[in-house]
Symmetry: C2
Subunit: 454 residues, 2 copies
C-alpha cells in the first residue's frame, strides 16, 4: 500500500512545487503503468497543471504512457493551443489513437491549431476505420527511387540519422515518380554489394502489399503466412501510403478481445475506469441494465401466467431460479465456443447446421446428466419424486434449448452484422429464462395432483 500512495503523493507534491526538471526526472523512474496509475489519482486540476509545467516533448511522453481514453480526457480539458503543441510531438499512430477518442469538435479544434502538414496527415488517418490497414499503418517509412545507389541511401540515412531514430527501419521501399510501390530492399541486402549499385538492381520487384482498406482479419492472416517485419500499404492507385507492422495488428486484435470481454460483461460504450466521473460511470452501466430489466420483465411474465400452478405447488419457486441460472450458464458456454471458433476462422457464419448438430449432441448429454442431478436433488430435498421428474425434465429440455441457441446466436448475429459480444448474452438469458420457467411450470401443471400430494 505504501509505495502506491507514495508515487501518487510524490507526483502531487512535485506538481504543486512546479519544478519541471524534477517532475520529469521522477516520472522517468516510473514504469508506464505506474505513471498511468499515479496520474489517474491526481485531481483534474493537478493533471492540467502537470501537463502545462512539462515541455510539450515531455508531456507527449507522459501522454504515450497512459491509456488513450484517459489521455483524450486530459487533453480535451486543456487550452487548445497547448494541447496542439503537445499532440504535435506524438507519433502518427499515437496521435490518431488519442484524437479518435475525443469528440469530433474537440479533435477538429486541436487539428486546426497544429502544424498544417501534421494535421492534414492526421485527418487522412482519422478517415480510415481503426481496424483496417489504413487505420493501423504508420507513415514513418523510408522510400527511395530505383536509380538511387546504395551510397545515396546511406548518405540519406546518415544525414537524417536523428529524425530516422524513431522509425522502424526494417525495409527500404522503392517507389516510382508517382509514389507507386515498385520494389523493396531488406537492410542486409545493403551489406554485401558495391556502394555504386543502383537500388533497381538489388530490390525485390513487385513486393507483396496490402490495400489501405484491408481488414484486420486479412492482415492477421498475412502475418501468419509471411514472417515479415512489416507490409507496405497502398491506396487505390497503388501509391504507397504507409507500413503496417505486425505488432500493430497484434495490438488491435488484443484491443478487440478487450472490447469483447467488456461488452460481454455489460460495460458498453468503451472503457470504464474508476477515475472517471461518477455520473458517466453510473450512466453507462445503467444504459445496459435498464434494457436488461425490460428483458427480465418479459421473461418473468411467464411466471405470472402460471401463478396458480405455482401457488398450488410453492416448492417449485425454489427451483425456478436454479433452472434459469443453470441454462444461462450452459448457453453461455456454447456462445463462448462459437465466438472463439468464429474469431479463429474455424467456423463460418453460414455453417449454422454444423454447429447445431454438434451442440445438439452436447445438449442432450449434458441435459440428461444435469437433469438427473437436479431431479435427484429435488426428489431427495422435498421427498416427492414427481417434483424431481418435473424439475429434472425441465432442466434437461432447457439445457438442450440453451446450447442450441447459444451455439447459433453468435453466427446469426455476425451474419446480421450485429456484435455478438453485445447482444448474445441478454438475448440468450431472456429466451432461456422464458423457456425454463415455461418448462418447469407447464410440466408441473400437467402432473399437479402428484406434486401437491407431497
Amino acid at each position: 500500500m505504501q509505495d502506491i500512495m507514495t508515487s501518487w503523493e510524490v507526483l502531487s507534491k512535485l506538481v504543486s512545487a512546479g519544478n519541471s526538471a524534477e517532475l520529469i526526472d521522477y516520472i522517468d523512474t516510473l514504469s508506464p503503468p505506474e505513471t498511468a496509475r499515479a496520474i489517474s489519482r491526481l485531481t483534474s486540476e493537478e493533471q492540467q497543471r502537470l501537463l502545462s509545467i512539462l515541455s510539450p516533448e515531455d508531456a507527449a511522453e507522459v501522454i504515450e504512457d497512459i491509456p488513450e481514453v484517459q489521455a483524450a480526457e486530459m487533453v480535451e480539458e486543456m487550452d487548445i493551443g497547448q494541447a496542439a503543441a503537445i499532440l504535435e510531438e506524438l507519433d502518427s499512430d499515437h496521435l490518431v489513437d488519442v484524437l479518435a477518442e475525443m469528440d469530433e469538435e474537440a479533435s477538429q479544434a486541436i487539428l486546426n491549431r497544429m502544424d498544417q502538414e501534421d494535421a492534414e496527415e492526421a485527418r487522412k488517418f482519422l478517415e480510415y476505420e481503426p481496424d483496417c490497414a489504413g487505420g493501423l499503418m504508420i507513415s514513418e517509412y523510408l522510400a527511395y527511387k530505383a536509380d538511387d545507389t546504395i551510397q545515396d541511401l546511406l548518405d540519406d540515412l546518415h544525414q537524417n540519422r536523428e529524425e530516422y531514430a524513431d522509425y522502424h527501419v526494417q525495409y527500404f521501399y522503392v517507389v516510382d515518380k508517382d509514389e507507386r510501390l515498385i520494389g523493396v530492399l531488406r537492410m542486409h541486402d545493403l551489406l554485401f554489394p558495391r556502394r555504386t549499385t543502383q537500388l533497381a538492381a538489388l530490390m525485390i520487384p513487385s513486393p507483396l502489399r496490402v490495400k489501405d482498406t484491408t481488414p484486420l482479419k486479412k492482415l492477421r492472416d498475412f502475418f501468419e503466412e509471411h514472417e515479415f517485419l512489416g507490409v507496405p500499404v497502398v491506396d487505390e492507385d497503388d501509391r504507397m501510403v504507409g507500413v503496417v507492422l505486425p505488432g500493430a495488428v497484434e495490438e488491435e486484435v488484443s484491443k478487440q478481445k478487450t472490447r469483447t470481454f467488456l461488452r460481454l460483461s455489460g460495460i458498453i460504450g468503451g472503457e470504464e475506469f474508476r477515475t472517471m466521473g461518477l455520473l458517466s460511470r453510473s450512466g453507462r452501466r445503467l444504459a445496459w441494465l435498464t434494457m436488461n430489466i425490460l428483458l427480465n420483465v418479459i421473461a418473468a411474465s411467464v411466471i405470472a401466467m402460471y401463478q396458480d400452478t405455482l401457488a398450488a405447488a410453492i416448492t417449485l419457486a425454489v427451483f425456478l431460479p436454479m433452472v434459469s441460472d443453470m441454462s444461462g450458464c450452459s448457453g453461455n458456454q456454447a456462445v463462448a465456443v462459437s465466438m472463439r471458433e468464429l474469431s479463429l476462422g474455424l467456423v463460418r457464419p453460414s455453417e449454422l447446421l454444423w454447429v447445431l448438430a454438434k451442440e445438439a449432441r452436447v445438449g442432450v448429454l449434458n441435459g440428461l446428466v444435469l437433469g438427473l442431478l437436479l431431479g435427484a436433488i429435488a426428489w431427495l430435498w422435498q421427498g416427492n419424486i414427481w417434483l424431481g421428474v418435473v424439475v429434472g425434465g425441465a432442466l434437461a429440455a432447457n439445457t438442450l434449448v440453451s446450447v442450441l441457441l447459444g451455439g447459433m446466436l453468435p453466427l446469426v448475429l455476425k451474419r446480421l452484422k450485429l456484435d455478438p459480444a453485445l447482444v448474445s448474452s441478454p438475448l440468450l438469458t431472456t429466451v432461456t429464462d422464458m423457456c425454463g420457467f415455461f418448462f418447469v411450470l407447464s410440466f408441473a401443471s400437467a402432473v399437479l395432483p402428484k406434486i401437491i400430494g407431497s
Copy 2:
C-alpha cells in the same frame, strides 16, 4: 457454404489419392485459418494419413498453421518416430508450444526420438513457465565475440545465409567466452564503419537485458518503455540464452485474454473446439456446471426458508429471478472493471478500500435508479404499492451489495493467487442470489399483511 465444403472435400479427396505434391500445392493456396478449418473437418484417420503423406518439412508447415491444441492432438496419435521427424522441423517456439499441450508422457516419448541437441534445448525451454521471458524467448539469435571484425560477421552471415533466413536478425549480440552478454549492435551500425573494425569498438556496451524468469507483465512494461525490436534474455549467471521479441509478448497477452474470456464463460481446462470428441467436450462443460448446480442449491435454500412468506404472497415469485439476475449483471460489470484495471496496472490488489469507495457511490446511485424502476413496474403491474416498495427496495439494496462484491472479488482473488476469471462469477452469483432472495423475502415478511391485501 460452397467454398467451405469444397476446401474440406478437396483435401479429403487429395488425401485419399495420396499425391503429396498435389496435396501441398493445394494447402499452399489456403490461408492458415482455411487450412486449420479444412483439416479440423477431416476424420482422425484422414488427418493421420495427411501428415504421413507429406514430407516432414511440409507437415511441419501444416502444423504451424493450426491451433496448438489441435496440432498436439494430431501429433499424439501419430507413430512416435514420424511425429519426432515432423516436430524437429518446427521453430523452437512452435515446438515448445505444441509439446506443452501434450501430456508429459507423450511429449517425453517424442523428445527421446528427436535429434539430441534439439531435444535438450526443447526440454530446457519446457521447464520455463510459458508466461515468463524463458518461455517466450526464441533461441535463434546471432552472437559474436568482441574481437570479431565487421568482415568476420559479414562472412558468417553470407556463409549461413540459408540457415539464418528464418532468424529474426534485428540485432547482433556480443558475448564473452563464457557466453555472458557484453554488447549489442544494430544492423545499421554495420553500414558505415570500415570492415576491419572490431565489434568491440562499435557495440553498445552493457545493453539492457532481462532475466529468464522475468514475468509477462514486466516484459510488457519493458517494450512499452523501450521501442526495441527484441530484448536479450540471460540466465542467473548472466549468460545469454535467447531473445524475446515484442510480438511474442503481445501474443501471450492476447492468449491470456482469450483464456480469461473462456473461463469467464465457463469453458475451463483449455480451449474447446467442436471438432473435439463429444465426451471430452461434454465432460469439461459438465465439470463446471455441476459445481454451479451445487452453488445454486445453496442460494435457493434461502427461498426454501421463506416458503411460507412466498406462499402467502405468490406474486413475489415473479420478481425473485428478476432481482437475482439484475444484481448478477450489476456485479459482473464491477468485476469487469476491476479485472481490466488490474490488468492495466491502474489498480493494485491492495487498494481494496479505494475500489470499495468508488463502487459504493455507483452502487447507491444505480441501486436507487434500478430500485425505483423495478418498484414502479411491480406497483403498476400488480397494483400494490407495498409490493413495489419491497421489490424495489430489495433490488436497490442488492445492487449495492453486488457492485461492492463484484468490485472487490478480483482484487481479493488475485491476492489469494486464485484466478479471478475462474472464480469471480460463480462466487458472485451465489452470494448475490442469496442476498437478493433474502432481501425480497425478508422485506416482504415484514410488511406481509399489506402485500397480501392486494
